[in-house]
């Protein structure tokens, strides 16, 4: 199953799908998208790489155990909720900051984005844990 065509296609599709997953996460709060869909697209890109070049190469690509991603994502989501305690507000109250980036104008960044990144990592880790262990057999 490691043909030249598939391996070459996977090499070009992997960055495209990862870029699209990041786009989905960043857009998620106000328009369709979000951490869950982004995580699914990102994990399917890694699964495509695993199908093309083998599970071992895909695990090497991640550089860490997929289960570490679950823990990191949960911690990140928890941290985004705890941030509101500093303002004396209830748990998970959204905190928003306005940033002025050169060339992009003013953008609003808030804790829901951090929470979405946490969801992204949890979904990525969960799906990859399941699929990679299934592919190994």
């Amino acid at each position: 199953m490691t043909t030249v065509i598939l391996r070459t296609a996977a090499r070009y599709l992997l960055p495209l799908m990862l870029l699209f997953s990041v786009f989905l996460v960043l857009r998620g709060h106000h328009e369709p998208g979000g951490g869950f869909v982004g995580g699914l697209v990102a994990s399917s890109s890694v699964i495509l790489y695993a199908l093309a070049s083998g599970v071992r190469d895909a695990a090497h690509l991640l550089r860490t155990d997929p289960r570490m991603l679950i823990g990191a994502g949960l911690l990140l989501a928890l941290a985004s909720g705890l941030l509101s305690f500093f303002g004396g507000q209830p748990f998970m109250t959204g905190q928003w900051v306005s940033l002025v980036l050169p060339g992009m104008g003013e953008i609003h960044v808030g804790t829901p984005l951090v929470f979405d990144v946490g969801v992204y990592l949890v979904v990525l880790g969960t799906v990859l844990t399941i699929i990679l262990s299934l592919l190994e057999q």
């Binding site: 199953m1 598939l6 599709l13 495209l16 799908m17 699209f20 989905l24 328009e31 369709p32 998208g33 869909v37 697209v41 399917s44 699964i47 495509l48 199908l51 093309a52």
Partner: protein
């Protein structure tokens, strides 16, 4: 958009929807009848491509640009499903 252009657009959308329906029916026929597993896999891949086209048509008909992202995700992921099926077919052929 003036009335003339909108008439052409409506006619094109209707024609596209009719042709897509015919293509769906033919692909499902192959999916049901297909004598071998690879025939069915190719039919499923064709159905996925047709769904991408149908979503794009609906995106124009409903004037909802957001729907286009669904077509984009589907086009990226449907390919993966076909690859996984191909792997399964290849592996089951080797075991026999």
């Amino acid at each position: 958009m003036n009335g003339y252009e909108s008439t052409i657009l409506q006619a094109a959308l209707l024609a596209a929807a009719l042709m897509l329906t015919a293509a769906f029916l033919l692909a499902f026929l192959r999916l049901i009848r297909g004598p071998s597993v690879p025939d069915r896999v190719v039919a499923l891949d064709l159905v996925a491509v047709l769904v991408v086209a149908a979503v794009a048509v609906q995106c124009i008909a409903a004037d909802q640009p957001v729907l286009f992202d669904a077509a984009l995700v589907l086009a990226l992921v449907a390919f993966l499903g076909t690859v996984a099926f191909a792997r399964y077919v290849e592996r089951s052929g080797r075991d026999d």
